[in-house]
């Protein structure tokens, strides 16, 4: 069993399982060994359940069911997802004793599809923050540079796949918390149309903005997971890049961006043009107040959920999350409602724009993975909090609810991955994934594996 298999795509692993080239038990042994060796280094897991996974793998091997689309695939999930018999901690001292007795809907669906759960991933406490810093469980580093962040808030999910500790992971994305860490770690991050993957049984952060998403090595893997997880599976579409109209935002999404990231996106645009795609500059809605709108909605919603714990356990929250909740307390009901009404205008604006284009292309992030512990990053002489920078290009689409996928498209001279983001129409999830697959298979770029010693 080679380490290379640990970095194989879900699709390849599935194929090897079906061809009996590898057994489900051998796969679990491979990942269990790597988790044991790299647990401290990666800080990817809050808990693992290897013995239960071995038991399931033995059953899978005994009577392998080819009909199950994810049969034998080892996966992990962010520790916001309920898994029967395990605590859901939210990465927080507050929920250390929160033993749950029913699986989250997506965990049920993964299991029904034959996937083999191996553990729960570290995260920014209760998904509050994009740096993935966690004082209780440590900060997952980037697999390409241990001095830098994996990114968050699904930091452990990104580290788990990035360090080759599982084939795929589930995360939540409220402002980019799947797509951004996936991109910083050289993975594919996908969030669906708002509501198409159930959030039932997942600790909420903001009901209006939360999406369940996937972190995988390839876009095809995201498609395989989506087929099993989506509430309304549709027939896969066949899209051609030829004559595909790709919107290129005229403002905001290419501003205050690392020049090497812009170069990589330029190279990707040249490829798309050569393939016959039509690149169309598009005016975006004003982004001037989008962060204010997002905060006006998310912090009162977070406070509303966490009120159930504040009186008895308020002292157990980390200082930064308490400050955020206090902010939620200081906003008016009218400001919250107004925020939700602005979100409706953003959705309408984007729906009008999508009448003219099939997808929109942006960089995934304006920066490469920041150093661990850094408070601010500076691009083009403009300093901003690291967490804000990481999600600057992703958070808008949590408000509009459009499906979005990030995929690797280059390597920075500092040895870190660069990612692009494609955004699709509402309920165009399958088409978006299909387009991402075509970009991935046609574009002449192969991400090197991280050097993990």
């Amino acid at each position: 069993m080679t380490a290379t298999l640990a970095f194989a795509s879900l699709s390849e692993i599935s194929s090897r399982l079906r061809n009996r080239e590898v057994s489900a038990t051998e796969l679990i042994d491979l990942y269990a060994d790597r988790i044991e060796r790299l647990a401290e280094e990666s800080k990817a897991f809050i808990c693992v359940d290897i013995e239960a996974a071995r038991g399931r793998a033995a059953s899978i091997d005994k009577n392998f069911d080819d009909e199950l689309p994810l049969n034998g695939i080892p996966y992990s999930c962010k520790d916001l997802f309920n898994v029967k018999g395990l605590p859901t901690t939210g990465g927080s001292q507050v929920l250390q004793d929160n033993l749950v007795h029913e699986d989250a809907e997506v965990v049920k669906r993964m299991n029904q599809a034959g996937a083999n759960f191996i553990g729960k991933n570290n995260l920014h406490e209760f998904a509050y923050g994009a740096t993935g810093e966690n004082t209780l469980y440590g900060t997952p580093p980037n697999p390409y540079d241990p001095s830098r962040l994996a990114g968050g808030s699904s930091s452990g999910s990104a580290a788990a796949v990035g360090f080759g500790l599982c084939a795929a992971a589930l995360g939540t994305d409220t402002g980019g918390s799947v797509r951004a860490p996936a991109s910083l770690c050289g993975l594919v991050g996908f969030k669906p149309t708002y509501g198409r993957i159930s959030t039932e049984g997942v600790v909420p952060y903001s009901w209006t903005l939360d999406h369940v998403g996937t972190l995988t090595r390839k876009a095809a893997d995201a498609g395989l997971l989506f087929d099993s997880l989506a509430s309304e599976p549709k027939t896969p579409v066949q899209t051609s890049l030829h004559n595909l109209t790709i919107g290129i935002p005229q403002s905001f999404f290419f501003e205050r961006c690392d020049s090497e990231i812009l170069d990589s996106i330029d190279a990707l645009m040249n490829f798309l043009h050569r393939e016959g795609a039509i690149l169309k500059p598009v005016p975006m809605p004003s982004m001037e107040f989008t962060r204010a709108v997002s905060l006006a909605v998310q912090m009162p919603e977070a406070l509303s959920y966490h009120n159930r714990y504040l009186e008895q356990r308020g002292h157990l929250y980390s200082r930064d999350f308490r400050a955020g909740l206090a902010l939620g307390q200081c906003l008016l009901a009218e400001q919250y409602i107004r925020g939700k009404r602005f979100i409706e205008t953003y959705r309408n604006d984007m729906d009008r724009l999508f009448a003219e284009v099939d997808v929109i292309l942006t960089p995934a992030t304006p920066v490469i993975a920041p150093k661990i512990g850094v408070i601010e990053v500076t691009v083009d002489g403009y300093a901003e909090p690291a967490g804000n920078a990481i999600t600057r290009y992703t958070s808008f689409f949590n408000m509009t609810g459009h499906p979005a996928i990030t995929l690797p498209c280059g390597m920075h001279s500092k040895g870190l991955p660069i990612g692009a983001q494609l955004v699709g129409k509402h309920f165009g999830d399958e088409q978006l994934i299909d387009i991402a697959q075509q970009v991935e298979s046609g574009y002449d770029f192969e991400l090197p594996l991280p050097d993990l010693g």
Binding site: G195, R322, A326, I337, T345
Partner: protein, 58 residues
């Protein structure tokens, strides 16, 4: 008891409330800016636009 005193609230400590308006810890750094922006948004007429809800196929 005045109306304001009857609004329930979790008892944030003084340091946390101070942090909102006079940040020293680098945690919440833009509360005043947020309030200023929300005030600008308050003055924009959204006509009868409803709050965002679920998204349905069209």
């Amino acid at each position: 008891m005045g109306i304001r005193d009857q609004f329930g609230s979790y008892a944030w400590d003084d340091a946390e409330i101070s942090e909102l308006v006079d940040p020293k810890l680098g945690i919440i750094t833009g509360f005043q800016e947020l309030l200023d922006q929300l005030e600008v948004l308050r003055k924009i007429d959204l006509e009868a636009t409803p709050p965002a809800g679920d998204i349905s196929p069209k």
